[in-house]
Symmetry: C2
Subunit: 352 residues, 2 copies
DNA sequence: TCTGCATCTGACAACGCTGTCATTATTCCA
DNA sequence: TGGAATAATGACAGCGTTGTCAGATGCAGA
């Protein structure tokens, strides 16, 4: 509350409206509206007057009135799987929130628990009840055809993070999982490892395939023979990492390094290895993916691959907002690089 | 809308308005409004007609119009510290989201990075720009006097989770940290431990003091002498847990069990113990607090204390919504119980 | 049956903005 | 320099709801 308010008897400060700005700038409300919405056909000198008045009064357009009057809602939805390990979603959330704030949009959340028989109904209710302009779909939600179709039918633009299969002319963003996987595999090979175990992730995630391909490419590039038994399926869960590791370590000649397709599974690998009394990294090198909080909190801390998820989500949400605004596509960078974070869970292969 | 739609007369289904309902029920829009808002002075027979029409048309009031017209916004804000370890916030988020959905409110997020010199300005902007009716403040944000004062000045009701010091007549909810800490300490004593190390949390959290008090009470109840050097300060971080553990294990006669005030610090304890070649739980029992994802992902999995945060946040948000609605206070349960989750990081004291 | 009061109901003006369309100012070219 | 084309601006009607206040209705008691 300002001094002025107090002088006026401490009325609860009523927010200034478009009329106040128009009056102060000496123009019509429509012109103010034009300036606020960055429309064309406003003389530069007029614009300046209006902007000055806006700043002077600290005017913010009333969202409810905009919504009621126009056909836009200034709301973006984020539909995500609500997992136990939340760090991916947290990052997406932070990035999307940042872009929304910058763009004057509001972010609404729909956490989904999978599997969900009422998936489509839930999404439909969310979208129509919350009156969304657009939707951000992180993996793996973005790969649900039924959701894509629903949003297309409702004519609601969406943008996807790391989609399995980018659609023509769609908004999406990804990081180079394949290359990252190649890099981390090469890193292990450089340390002298030849027996390289690999634990795949949940096939529902596109990253699962990409990471596996990077592994294969690295083997090939180094002329290392591919052994099918060195590759195990997992579901990105701690437990699945454990049992996959069990299988790998039970092999006649077990690998000297294991690449798990995410940190949770890598934690499972370490867990299982310790149960067997193996030393890490002396007896077994382990790497994960994603650099989740657990990676730096287990013993030994995990060598892993970090994706710039926050930045990716922010960029993608920004692109979506641009599209909603009808701005020209500024063709921002849509591919981000991952990089290997080296910690103590990996080491050179010891010849015994 | 496509040309085809127009040709077919398939207008994009416009949502029914209060006028449509009024017409179908044969009453005025004001009466419909009364029914929708559960106001008094509507004849039962009239109400039934209106309700039937509402259901028939599947009418939902337009939030923007309500907001524009009335003085309520149907929006609740959640202001939280945006930490690395997100599981607490995740749970709060899930609970608040659930209550908001049930109550027809929208939840808006304000993540805060601490320390933040512009804290108050950020909060003020959030609150006024987003036009909030009420705010949920999880720990430790709820204990910032400046935020409390701001909200009080702006006349915006707030509700706090686990406040250090409940204010008279405020909405808050907590779980019995002191008792939980007593229980887990007693659990260790029952296993034969006498030398009980304790790592305090960040003093900014009220839980820190409560947990310490429970520890003290358990010592007293079992006539175990209190040793000041067995108590170390921490900040709830993995690193602080490590260094506190270092100090404890460097003691002439180190404790046989360590109680860390959260899981992250307990992870630090385990990390440090392993670096020294100690076996857990044979050489050292470790317990944490909060049952975060890491608790079940480290080796060995952590005995810890689980708080029903989701339920607490849901209940509290529900209470806040009730208050905003002007409903009578139904005096729902405001105190929740924690319980010990026993895993492999604790065991009986081995006499050597 | 009528009066007076409590109970219901409805007409209509906000709320603050954007879309439409009319009007006015400016620019450009013959 | 005039006239057409174009750019800039403004008047005003909604958008769907709630608040206000006036008016209608119902009911008890005389």
């Amino acid at each position: 509350m300002t001094d002025q308010d107090q002088a006026l008897g401490r009325q609860k400060a009523k927010a200034p409206t478009i009329f106040d700005v128009a009056k102060q700038a000496g123009v019509s409300i429509k012109t103010v509206s034009r300036v606020v919405n960055a429309e064309i056909n406003v003389r530069e000198s007029t614009r300046e007057k209006v902007v000055a008045a806006i700043n002077d009064l600290n005017y913010r357009p009333n969202t409810a009135a905009r919504v009621l009057s126009g056909k836009r809602f200034y709301v973006i939805g984020l539909i995500y799987e609500n997992p136990n390990e939340f760090s991916y979603v947290q990052k997406v959330l932070n990035g999307a929130l940042k872009a929304c704030e910058a763009g004057g949009y509001t972010l609404l959340l729909l956490p989904l628990t999978l599997p969900n028989p009422d998936l489509i109904q839930d999404v439909r209710r969310f979208v129509s009840q919350s009156r969304l302009d657009g939707v951000v779909l992180p993996a793996p939600i973005g790969d649900f055809i039924s959701i894509q179709r629903l949003l297309t039918d409702l004519d609601i633009p969406f943008a996807r993070i790391s989609p399995r299969m980018p659609l023509a002319d769609e908004l999406s963003i990804h990081c180079n999982d394949e290359q990252a996987s190649f890099d981390v595999t090469q890193f292990l090979i450089d340390q002298g490892h030849q027996g390289l175990g690999f634990i795949k992730g949940d096939p529902i995630h596109a990253a699962t395939a990409h990471r596996f391909e990077g592994y294969l490419r690295a083997l090939k590039a180094n002329s290392i023979e591919y052994h099918g038994e060195y590759v195990q399926d997992g579901q990105f869960s701690f437990e699945s990492g454990r049992s996959a590791t069990r299988a790998l370590l039970d092999l006649r000649s077990p690998p000297s390094a294991i690449i798990a397709s995410n940190d949770d599974m890598a934690a499972g690998t370490i867990f299982e290895a310790r149960e067997r009394g193996l030393r890490i990294p002396e007896d077994l090198s382990v790497v994960g993916f994603d650099d989740t909080p657990i990676a730096s909190r287990i013993w030994p801390p995990l060598t892993t691959v970090r994706q710039p998820i926050v930045e990716m989500a922010e960029a993608l949400t920004g692109l979506l907002i641009q599209k909603l605004r009808g701005d020209p596509d500024d063709s921002a960078e849509r591919s981000f690089a991952c990089h290997v974070v080296t910690r103590a869970s990996t080491g050179p292969r010891l010849i015994n």
